[in-house]
Amino acid sequence: MITESKFQQTYNFGFIDESTKKEIRRKLLKAVAIPGYQVPYSSPEMPIARGWGTGGLHATLSLIGPEDIFKIIDQGSDASVNACNLRDFVKRMTNCRTTFDTAEATLIQTRHRKPEEILTDKQIIVFQVPQPEPLRSVERYEFKTRLMHAEADYAKMWVSLYESYVKFGAIMQGAGYPVRVNGRYIMTPSPIPRWDVPNLSMAPCLHVFSAGREKRLHCVPPFTKVEPLEFEDVKFHVEDFGAITCAASGGDKAFMDEIYESETSRKFVMNDSNFMDKVRSGTRPPQRLFTNPTV
């Protein structure tokens, strides 16, 4: 029988070998130096399939140290399958302490959400990214999108937003809303809801976005300006939940999941499970809320 300790001996700390970690860290440094720029990296083989969070794992495992406290969420929840499996894996490969508490964690890996709670300058958040190229929807050739980025040629992206407005009366991009980072590169912020997009801007924490299948990583460093693309007269809006309150905690002003109870009724609960737990226990953490423009 293969025991836990035997695994610890067989694999390097954090599963990935040291020279590959070094390579990923170098690419991360480059990505921090050029905010929003997609840096190609090695994307080594992992014991899960590419596209199932390998990009996030690469960044996490090359950044994590023995003293780190690790948290991982999937769609806002610590308890969903992807999060549980990856947490077990990271735990087994590093023996780091794990937590559900957003404030306590030093390294957070996430899929589809940035936690509601304000992250500090002691924290790094790693996003799992399925498609790092924001221009892919308007240009299918990689060599062309790279040229477009190099020359800041974003007219097609703008036209697609214009078209969306003309067809539907609003910019319909729900998740992965295109943003301009530090006034230069247009970046996709992973498929986080529009609700989370303003929270990327001028945040104290480091954001790492990593796409394992596409072998690209990009970063939003602390205190970097992130602007969602918007027109002078058609502004960016976050999801409007109005006066909806969470059925489990009674709180409002957070990103909500809509749950259908039966054929006739539905309820809303907060998507960020740790945040909901804190609201329920009466200690609502500080949040940065975006006010939709009236136009």
Partner: protein, 284 residues
């Protein structure tokens, strides 16, 4: 300073513009051209698409370029519109750095900037000039957005104005050009080309794929816009009737060279070069 280089109020000055495909040798240009009846270099098979092109274009002037297919006339405008990279030569444009810079050597970013706000191009095939995945309005918006106009209301206002001007039903602004007739597509292309009021417009065989009555309408529109906006144009056509109707001055090209140039009336009435004589006498 000789006459050739003097500043006589030109808008676009082209000197020795050359485009060679393949492997050129020092003699490629010497071995090709109308005197040899070919534009293929006999030693390396390099194709000299155009060479030794010299002319000035003046503000508000309409310059015609005629010649048989393969004579290099489309290549010439594609070089000027940066669709292709020139092999050599100089192009100066008054609207860029007051004409001091050879625009052939500009960075891609500045070339795109020039294309989007200082030049317009209407291609023979609307699919080259329009993106059929976008609506007609979106295609015009692309030009306006490139020039830094990010107000949807104003973009739509301008697009409606342009479509009205080019007689495309404004109601169809949000349809893709794929659902339009050939004549309408061509008019959308013209709207897009003049969206930012560029001082320079290139028209490459704009009416060649259209039936005669639509041709007349499109030509009428171009002439009208030219008078109204005072834009300078380079009109490429193999159709002498189009050249006669639109242009003030004409260049005749053969095997990648200019063989004759002068006032359009003069060239059509009294052609000097044997090739021009043949061209004029072949007119139905």
């Amino acid at each position: 300073m000789n006459y050739q280089d003097s500043d006589n109020g030109w808008l676009l000055r082209v000197r020795n513009l050359t485009k060679i495909y393949g492997d050129p040798i020092s003699n490629s240009i010497q071995y090709t051209g109308p005197a040899h009846g070919t534009n293929i270099c006999p030693e390396t098979d390099a194709i000299v698409a155009c060479a030794e092109i010299n002319f000035d274009l003046y503000p508000g002037e309409v310059l015609g370029v005629v010649g048989e297919s393969g004579s290099g006339k489309s290549t010439l405008v594609q070089l000027l519109y940066f669709d292709q990279m020139a092999t050599g030569g100089e192009v100066h444009f008054k609207a860029i750095d007051e004409g001091k810079t050879n625009i052939v050597t500009l960075s891609n970013q500045r070339k795109r900037q020039a294309r989007s706000s200082l030049m317009g191009m209407v291609y023979q095939n609307p699919r080259d000039g329009l993106n059929f995945n976008f609506s007609a309005g979106g295609n015009i918006a692309e030009k306006l957005l490139m020039a830094g106009n990010f107000h949807v209301g104003r973009i739509r206002e301008r697009a409606s104005f342009l479509l009205e001007k080019t007689e495309v039903p404004v109601k169809r602004m949000d349809n893709t050009p794929a659902t339009f007739s050939g004549g309408m597509q061509q008019r959308v292309q013209i709207s897009k080309a003049i969206a930012n009021n560029p001082p320079l417009l290139f028209l490459d065989e704009v009416t060649s794929g259209l039936d005669v009555s639509v041709q007349a309408k499109v030509l009428d529109l171009i002439r009208h816009l030219q008078r109204e906006l005072g834009v300078s144009m380079i009109v490429v056509s193999h159709d002498l009737a189009v050249i006669r109707m639109l242009t003030d001055r004409t260049l005749v090209m053969k095997n990648g060279r200019i063989v004759e140039s002068g006032l359009t009336d003069q060239i059509l009435q009294d052609p000097q070069h044997p090739y021009t004589q043949l061209l004029v006498s072949s007119l139905l």
